[in-house]
Each structure stands twice: as structure tokens, then as C-alpha cells.
Amino acid sequence: MSLERRAFLQGFKDVAPMLIGAVPFGLITGVSAVGAGMHPTDIIFMSALVFAGSSQLAAISLIASGAAIWAIVLTVAMVNLRHVMYSLSLAPWLQRYGVLKRLLVSFLMVDQSFAMTVLRYPREADDYPRFHFALGIGVPMWIVWVSTTAFGALLGAQLPAEWQLDFAVPLLFLALLVPAVTSRPLLVAAVVAGTLALALAPLPYNLGLIIGSLSGIAAGALSEGLFRRSKPVAEPERAQA
């Protein structure tokens, strides 16, 4: 077996438990999107092209409320800002590859693949086929994500309106929000953001969401100094699907 194929299979082996966790999240996302009024084909395209669950849910809820396109794009950009950090920490490992391969790795990078990749690279030799490992992680993840949202969307289209599936999107966000609040400054960020977004909800173009989010981020970062002596600030934990 070639080194490349072995690295690809290693990636697949590393990501396998994550794939199982992604299945219900993909199904629920597909069902929720249709419940929120999106066309099943559109959510499948979104999963294939955006490939980032929580930002897709944010976009779905904004599309359902008839938000302006720029507000949707800005919100997706904010939810996915963490990928800039992932990109920063993986860049030194992939410098020997050409731009197309690095583009493919970038496109396939999600929370789970970053976590597995950043654990694997330091353990392997310098000539380890890192690109093939990244594909072994990313390609199965992409296939599972697109196929489960597609299945969820087709399923959701069959379910009756009495099931109130439009409630699924805020509910999923709640499920992501609670595990993200692991320290007091993070709680400050969430409370300030949520309260302001609620108070400013009547503003047009979903400005309440944008102003609330930015104020919450600022409040969290500022309060970090106040809490520093009492409790160390933990990195936000990723929710398990």
C-alpha cells in the first residue's frame, strides 16, 4: 500500500467516530431547513457549498425571516470566524503543497477535521502525506454531511405542518449555545448579545442580531479582565452532535 493511500485511510479511521456524530445533526438540519420554508434542493446545495453546520442554521433562520442578503452573509461570516484560527494553525504544515491542494484542504476544513488534523500532524514524520490525510478526513465528512442533510430535507418535506418544525432551528441553536458557555466571561457575552438582540429585534435588516453579537463579543472580551483573578477562561467547548 502506498504511503498516500495509507495516510488517506488513517484520516478515514480518525474521523469515523465524528462521522457517526454528524449523522443526526445533518438529518435535523435538513428537516429544519424545509420546516423553515427552504426548498429541499436549496438546502442540499447549501450543504455542498458552505459545508458548515451552525452557520447554515443561522442562514436558514435568517432566510426564513426574510432578512437582507448582506445580513445573512455577514452572520455566516461571523459564525465561521473560527476557521481563520484553524487556517492559521494548519498553514505551516501544508506549505509544500500547491495552491489547488491547499484550496481543497481549506474547503474541506470543518471543526471535526481540524481537531483530528491538528492532533495527527505533529505525530508524523516530515514526509508524511499530509494532504492525503486531510482528504481522508474531509471527503467522508463532506459526503456524510451532504447526504444526511439531503435525506433530512426530503423527509422534512413529507412531514405535516402540525409538527411545528420551524421551531427546530432556534432549538438547535439553543443546543449549540448552552455547551458554548463554559466560563463567566462567555456567559456575559451570551447574556449581553441575547438581551440586546431581543431588545433591538424590531430594527430592520436584522441589525439587532448584528449589533447584539458585536456588543456581546466586546462585553465578553472586556469582562475577561474582571474575572481573571477568580477563574481562568476556558476555550469554548464544541458541542457534540
Binding site: V84, L94, W163, L171, A189, S213
Partner: protein, 111 residues
């Protein structure tokens, strides 16, 4: 929103996400992020998720137990499950089932 508008939103969202993922991988820029930016990035998920969740849960659906909306009740039940278990699927299932149960009881008692 019309479907072409949805498609435009999807295309732009895909591009901006790829730009973020490729920010350092594609440019191979050596400059690290300033500490203040790193500090702010830690608060993005909690702040954005709260700004989306709280107004959506507080939105009245029209049915309630007295003055309390059924969706708020289902949301509180789901929040408790999320807090105790940190399990996304279980939180989702409990929230939906509580919503259905209360709605069903209300419908049955009104009939």
C-alpha cells in the same frame, strides 16, 4: 425571499466561508493574529448563538399556558437538557417532544 435571492445568499455565504478557511492556508502569511483579535474570537460562538436563539425563542407563537408561550416552555426544558447533557440530539428531541405534548394537551382540553 425569492429562490434566486436564496441562491445568491448561498453562493456568497460559500465564498465568504471559503475565504475564511483559506485565509492563512492560501496566502501562507506569516503574520499571527493580534492577541486582541484572538481574545475576541473566543466570544464569537456564544455571542452569535445567543443573539440568534433568544429573540427566536421569545417570539410569541400564539398558543400558551396562561401568559407563557408554549415555545418558551419547550425552550426552557431543552435548555435544562443541554446544560446537563451537552448533547445536541437529545436537546433537540426533548425540546420538540415537550412542544408537541403541551400543544396536544392544549388542543385536547380546548376541544
Amino acid at each position: 425571499m425569492s429562490r434566486p435571492e436564496v441562491w445568491l445568499a448561498i453562493a456568497l455565504a460559500a465564498l465568504v466561508t471559503l475565504a475564511e478557511r483559506g485565509s492563512f492556508l492560501l496566502t501562507q502569511s506569516e503574520s499571527p493574529l493580534p492577541p486582541l483579535v484572538r481574545r475576541c474570537l473566543r466570544y464569537v460562538p456564544a455571542a452569535v448563538f445567543a443573539a440568534i436563539t433568544i429573540p427566536a425563542l421569545a417570539q410569541p407563537s400564539g398558543t400558551g399556558v396562561g401568559p407563557v408561550d408554549v415555545r418558551l416552555l419547550a425552550g426552557i426544558a431543552a435548555a435544562l437538557v443541554a446544560w446537563r447533557t451537552r448533547n445536541v440530539t437529545l436537546t433537540f428531541v426533548v425540546g420538540m417532544v415537550v412542544l408537541w405534548l403541551i400543544s396536544w394537551v392544549l388542543t385536547a382540553s380546548n376541544a
